[in-house]
Amino acid sequence: MFLIHCPYCGEREQSEFKAGGEAHIVRPKQPTELSDDQWAEYLFMRKNIKGVQFERWVHAHGCRKWFNMVRDTSNDEIKAIYKMGEKPPTKYK
């Protein structure tokens, strides 16, 4: 059970949060101009890596804010947390 540092509330238990999949997949601004393949890339393709992964989380039973997390999926270490709209820390890329 993780301890997650919500950027708005502070450290809280994992049961207050929900995971929301891979981060930094931007919704295309002009979906109608995309080919089926390009749209499918946005819609379906996720990396699901073993190792350092960028994820979206929401403090569902708290402030209900979304934020980003850098997590090592191989040992569940949370390496960084940053707000929506902020740039991901470069050292994990």
Partner: protein
């Protein structure tokens, strides 16, 4: 033979407090402080159960939670009965009743014992190989297997005990109160850390506390006396909380642990009422110190499982702690110095030790010398090759080991005994450490796995870290604690330690025999009856991975998770397959470390708290009026209101007819309601719904469909424009929370530039819907000053109003196709407005209807229910709802997906109506729809999603989804049922009032 095996009294046993208990229906006596196992041994009872597969007689083997054999059923046939309780852990109390399990009809005569003689045909994988085929036979086999091989019986009555959960936050958690744990807890607490110390046993001090040997001293005091003083001191420290009888069940990531505190299991039954039995502790610790100790290993040789064969350390514990001699002619069998410690303890207490068989050829430690001095015969370089005695050991035979330890040589020697202690060295209890994600490393010199890398802020100290001797532990503990707790000094810097334990060991995983392996039974996993032979067979059959061997042979899959035998299994695999132990890896130890009862897991969440439900403000009225309820999400919704002897069908027919003929009333308070404000609210709705919202006039309502980004229908509902920048959205009852979550997600992550605020107001309003041709008259009585004329208040519009002084919102919207008004009023006025409507509607026979009637009425109109007529594969086009998808809007959620190659297929399943050839015949929801049932395999075209008998149309109607259904109007199809075929015709899904005349009737 009562109590003649008690030896010199022990301070842990209160001999003035005699306790009677029953075992297999016979009365015995023990003392306060005894476990069931020690009390049975004092009564000279070793045989307590039968093994799982071969039904071999089995006795008490250990003195702790690792016990594989002595598992019993408590208080049979009562509500407090519990199976699989380890006799070595349960403390006796007045009135305790225990019985053997896994034997039938009795432990002394067991029919399943025949399996023992059949064992050549019951090898590893026997159950898999035999019972897998033919599958239909499983039911027949199962009956016999369950009867003869069950693991106890679960209670059938509800549990009379109370359980609870508790959160604990601490700076330092210390697991295990042996010598290492006591030192760690004291050091931590004295340095100001809020410390929690847990131990599964009812006393503190671990195995050192009953160690009375002159060979182990600290600061010139016998180690147990030294530790006693430490224990007395820690009890006085304020910020140290100590919990005994508390077993850590799970060690999760981020130092989150679960522990079970056992509060009443040691009390007589009459003292347990109203008390909490078990408390599940949910512990979040900043730092964790594991001092979980180690488990003695058995030795693997032929017939190593007879009653009377125990771990050497268990014999020592029974003698020192409980004052019980396990036998009168004891023989010890060892590959290390531990058995000598036991021997010295035994003869100090005046218990006879006949001989020691030692695998090692050269041994000369101080312990060995003292044993020799006492004229105990030591067979050096020997091994036990067989044991005798069916229900209790009476003899062993031994032979000399060859130089390489692979064979036995010379001739057999027989030794009489009534108890055999075995010691194969020690295995660190790393179970919790590995659960936490810790990685182990293999130490070749003594063949143990010890902690290597820690995944969180934790350390392991003492024998669970592979430090097996007093001097090893005490010489390093001070530095370890200083580094870990970041403190300058401890009280334990310069201890004077005397420890005569020699660490040499001769490790042979499977001891050689004079017989071929096929003729022997060297048990590795006692509880699951897996032998070394089975493991070798698995390897011969091609299994290599330890995880596969484990499952195939069931080694380590019992309730003890193979605490004793897993290392031997690994060792035998490694030797047979020629691979290195360290490279084989270990199997995963899963939580809980020792089994938990379900009561502990659910805590207080039982009965009405098991799955809490939500009630509308009008709930009590529904109950008073005998409504039957239906669960929708967490809500209890009125389903139908049967009158007198009405069946569900009769009630629903009556309600449906009344709603169309005169007036019906529905409690719609459960619908999700989201208040939407902000200057970009219209733009936001444009993006989340498929239709256009920007041109909706203030005071108007509109139905909307919401899609997922993949184009599939997600939710629907009516949204009303209350003001320029203010809307109220309704969602389906079940979808309210997820819709809000989805909207927030888009607002925060994709469109943060939009000025929109969302508030969930589902519980704030009661929603009362009055429908039917007389609804207008009823509402005009309830709200006299509201102009209800069709010109001023047309369909799909909204008005603010007042009922007496209470503000309310009235929407003229309809889910039934009838003229209909929905009153939204602050929740606590809900019941009084409902009463007013009922009162006003009396002269019109206003009829309360439930969700079933609501579903029927909307089906007559062909309105969909998201989640019933749709699943996550239906687009609006599939639903024939193209009219609601804006062609003009540049974008909305899911738009692009509506013309992916897959979503534009003509042969997708599409929503259609179905009428039966026989208008009385009602289809089954979920039934398959086919074109031709004569050819197999039959192609499934689709299925029925909604089906009712319509009292208003006087015929059966149904909605369904059918491949290419849109172009099949008038097509005859078949619904094949178990013993008949039903002929149906595809129709438009709207069955009633296609012109919507009734909305303004």
């Amino acid at each position: 033979m009562t109590n003649n095996l008690r030896v010199k009294s022990s301070k842990f046993i209160d001999e003035t407090y005699k306790i009677s208990f029953k075992f297999n229906n016979k009365i015995y006596y023990g003392y306060k402080g005894d476990t069931l196992a020690s009390a049975l041994l004092a009564n000279n009872i070793h045989l307590v159960g039968r093994s799982f597969k071969y039904h071999r007689p089995r006795g008490i083997m250990t003195a702790g939670s690792e016990e594989p054999n002595a598992i019993v059923q408590l208080h049979k046939n009562t509500s407090r009965t519990e199976p699989n309780v380890r006799a070595t852990e349960i403390e006796i109390y007045e009135g305790l009743e225990a019985s053997s399990q896994n034997c039938w009809p009795s432990v002394n005569f067991d029919i399943g014992g025949i399996n023992n003689f059949l064992s050549p045909v019951l090898p590893a994988g026997f159950y898999y190989k035999t019972f897998m085929w033919p599958a239909s036979f499983w039911e027949k086999y199962e009956y016999f297997i369950r009867k003869s091989a069950g693991l106890g019986k679960s209670p059938t009555d509800s549990d009379p005990d109370i359980y609870e959960h508790k959160y604990i936050h601490c700076d330092v958690l210390v697991i295990g109160a042996g010598i290492s744990g006591i030192i760690a807890a004291k050091t931590s607490a004295k340095n100001g850390f809020k410390t929690l110390l847990l131990d599964e046993k009812p006393y503190l001090g671990g195995s050192t506390i009953y160690q009375n040997s002159e060979h182990f001293k600290i600061n010139n005091q016998i180690s147990s006396s030294w530790l006693d003083k430490e224990i007395n001191e820690i009890k006085k420290i304020d910020n140290l909380e100590i919990k005994i009888r508390t077993s850590v069940a799970a060690f999760h990531g981020y130092n989150f642990l679960l522990a079970r505190e056992n509060l009443t299991d040691h009390l007589p039954l009459h003292q347990r009422n109203e008390k909490v039995r078990h408390r599940l502790l949910k512990i979040r610790a900043k730092k964790v110190i594991s001092a979980t100790g180690s488990l003695e290993r058995p030795l693997v040789f032929d017939n190593n499982d007879r009653p009377g064969i125990l771990l050497s350390s268990a014999i020592e514990k029974y003698s020192n702690l409980f004052g019980v001699a396990c036998g009168q002619k004891n023989v010890l069998f060892t590959n290390n110095d531990s058995a000598y410690e036991t021997a010295i303890s035994l003869f100090q207490k005046g218990i006879n030790v006949g001989a020691i068989i030692d695998n090692r050829e050269e041994v000369d430690s101080k312990l060995v010398k003292e044993v020799e001095k006492n004229n105990i015969k030591i067979y050096k370089g020997y091994t036990v090759v067989n044991t005798f005695g069916y229900k209790k050991i009476n003899k062993i035979s031994i032979m000399q080991l060859s130089k390489d330890g692979q064979k036995v040589v010379g001739s057999k020697i027989s030794i009489d005994c009534d108890c055999l202690g075995m010691s194969g060295g020690w295995t660190p209890a790393v179970h919790l450490f590995t659960q936490s994600g810790g990685k182990l490393k293999f130490r070749d010199e003594d063949q143990v796995f010890i902690p290597d890398t820690y995944p969180s802020d934790q350390i392991s100290i003492g024998s669970c870290n592979g430090e097996f001797t007093l001097d090893e532990i005490l010489s390093s503990i001070s530095k370890k604690l200083k580094d870990f707790l970041n403190i300058k000094k401890t009280e334990y810097e310069n201890l004077e330690i005397q420890s005569h334990f020699n660490k040499t060991k001769r490790n042979i995983w499977l001891l050689p025999s004079d017989k071929i392996i096929g003729k022997t039974k060297p048990f590795v996993d006692y509880q699951n009856d897996a032998t070394a032979k089975d493991i070798k067979l698995a390897l011969r059959e091609g299994f290599r991975s330890i995880e596969h061997v484990k499952r195939y042979t069931t080694t380590g899959m019992g309730t003890d998770q193979g605490k004793l035998g897993n290392m031997h299994a690994l060792g035998i695999i490694s030797e047979t397959a020629g691979s290195k132990m360290g490279e084989l890896g270990t199997t995963t130890f899963r939580p809980p470390y020792t089994p938990l009862t379900f009561g502990t897991i659910v805590g207080r969440n039982v009965g009405e708290y098991f799955d809490v439900f939500r009630k509308t403000p009008i709930h009590d009225w529904h109950v008073e009026n005998k409504a039957k309820f239906e669960n929708v999400g967490q809500w209890k919704r009125a389903w139908f209101y049967p009158k007198k002897n009405e069946s569900m069908h009769e009630a629903v027919q009556r309600e449906s007819k009344a709603a169309r003929d005169s007036a019906g009333i529905l409690d719609a308070s459960t619908l999700g309601k989201i208040d939407i404000k902000g200057t970009d609210a219209s733009e936001f709705l444009n993006r989340v719904y498929t239709n256009t919202w920007s041109k909706l006039a203030i005071g108007k309502c509109r139905y909307g469909l919401m899609l997922n980004e993949d184009g599939m229908v997600y939710d629907d509902g009516v949204t009303t424009r209350l003001d320029e920048n203010h809307y109220i959205m309704t969602t389906t009852t079940g979808g309210a929370a997820t819709v809000l979550g989805k909207l927030e997600d888009y607002l925060q992550t994709e469109w943060p530039e939009l000025d929109v605020y969302l508030t969930s107001v589902t519980d704030h309003y009661a929603t009362i819907s009055v429908c039917g041709p007389n609804s207008k008259k009823i509402i005009s009585k309830v709200i006299p000053n509201l102009d209800l004329s069709d010109e001023k208040f047309p369909h799909m519009s909204f008005k603010n109003a007042k009922i007496d002084k209470v503000k309310c919102r009235v929407m003229r919207i309809s889910f039934t196709g009838e003229q209909s008004y929905e009153i939204n009023v602050q929740a606590n006025y809900g019941k009084s407005v409902w009463d007013k409507c009922m009162q006003a509607g009396k002269e019109f026979n206003i009829t309360p209807y439930g969700t079933e009637t609501m579903h029927l009425l909307r089906a007559e109109k062909g309105f969909i229910i998201v989640g019933q007529d749709t699943d996550a594969t239906m687009t609006p086009i599939d639903l024939q709802m193209d009219w609601i998808v804006s062609k003009k809007k540049y974008d909305f959620i899911g738009k692009r997906s509506l013309y992916r190659s897959d979503t534009i297929r003509e042969d997708r399943k599409q929503l259609i109506g179905l009428v039966t050839e026989n208008p009385k015949e009602v289809l089954e929801e979920g039934a398959q729809i086919v074109l031709d049932a004569s050819k197999s395999p039959v192609e499934m075209l689709g299925h029925v999603t909604s089906s009712y008998y319509s009292p208003n149309l006087e015929k059966s109607i149904a909605l369904g989804v059918v491949k290419g259904g849109k172009n099949m109007m008038g097509q005859k199809l078949i619904i094949p049922m178990e013993n008949k075929q039903i002929n149906v015709t595809v129709t438009d899904p709207v069955f009633l009032d296609k012109e919507n005349k009734r909305l303004n009737a």
